[in-house]
Amino acid sequence: MSVDPRIKQALREEDVRFRIMADCAPVALWMAGLDAKCTFFNQFWLDFTGRSMEEELGDGWAEGVHALDFQRCVDTYLTAFNARRPFKMEYRLRRHDGEYRWILDHGTPYFTADHRFAGYIGSCVDITERKHAEDAAREMNEVLERRVADRTTELQKANESLEAFSYSVSHDLRAPLRHVQGFIHLLERDAGDRVGEKAKEYLHLIADAAKRMGRLIDELLEFSRMGRVELSQSRVNMEDLVRDVVQFTAGDIGQRTVVWEIGPLPAVHGDPSMLRLVVENLISNALKYSRYRSETRIAIGSSPAENGKSVFFVRDNGVGFDPQYAGKLFGVFQRLHSSEEYEGTGIGLANVQRVIERHGGKVWAEAILNQGATFYFSLNEAREEP
């Protein structure tokens, strides 16, 4: 049976058109037959590898694949080929100048008009630059992560030694202090009637100073404990907690007029006894610094949770503080008022900050001098009960 020469001519023309198209393409192209052997490489491919068509045909092209990528490459190719599925693979291919370049190879099975499998057509792009950028980014990330881990360890160590230091200082300071107080007592007991009024007054002053130092040491110990003790977290109903604390403080209020404005307050996830400490501290501060108002107003409220955190506030109409010293509020033994004016050691807010930060929250304050202060803290929303 002879083929119409016009069809032959048309097929030849089709073939030429394909060649021209393939050779002008700005990517490397290849074709493989039914036996998975390559039957064609376009000019871009041949220019890239610097090899001849004869060298590349069949399995010749695989000689240019990097030894480390070879097996993976062959496996991917044959697996896809046998399943007649498209594939994508990355491998290093030797360029004409001997440099291995990263190639993204995309192979697709093709079928004749009557749906018979005829082989594969593939296209390749050089992704070396992208690969390098990715590697650099990954390396940078690793370096950064390592650095963060190192810093964290350093910080933890520094923190631990600081804890140990503050503990041993406060612990070891207690003994001599106990001695001072003990001997003052014995002196008063044994020589009380022989010392003059002035001397008695001095003894009292020594005793008071020692007592105050004892309080500072105990509070420092407590502060250090607060940093070390493990949190035992559960659902905490803040409104119940606040109302409970307010009721407890009623005894300290005496004849004062205090207008409370409480809640509604959401539940949070936290350590109940530690959060009680926070609330007690803030409320007792609010009461303390508003004691000379004819009418004390204290509001405890919250704003709706954002990003899983609820923000609470305790607002009073007391003496407030100069906002420029706001940063000093939360430091250990930092005070903005003299202890003659307002009693206290200055560790309360440091404890508040420590507890809140250990809960992953933040604490901050706003105030206007002589008009009152507002303390804010954020805590994690209560979790769904299992």
């Binding site: 207690r174 001599p176 106990r178 003990g182 001997f183 007592h185 004892g214 040491i217």
Partner: protein, 146 residues
Amino acid sequence: VIERLKRILLVEDSANDVALTLAALEEAHLANCVDVVRDGAEALDYLFRRGAFCNRETGSPVAVLLDFKLPKVDGLDVLREIKADPGLKLIPVVMLTSSREEPDLKRSYQHGANAYVVKPVEFHAFVDAVKEAGRFWAVVNAPPPS
């Protein structure tokens, strides 16, 4: 003769604490009954009547006031030895410490301490604590059941 055997053993390395404890025991009228040793090794020598104490009169103290932190052999080890000895283990031991640390307390009770006193900073409280510790003396001083 019997009275002389009713001793309290105070094991305390700090001279100041010894003076204060004796003063506190004095207020409880117990100061004359106290023997003082200054470290854990001495305490064990005293209790086992060996070394410098090999000629000590026989009989165990009615109570031991034992400081937690001691030179040489520390308080916890002394406690352990007392509680491991069949002849000594019934002596009430009161641990004295300036520590409020919970592990100390737990370890003391695990090793059989009969009481645990945190030396308070306030002298009045200290006197009370020592008197409380001395109550073992009073308890043992009561006529024994016949």
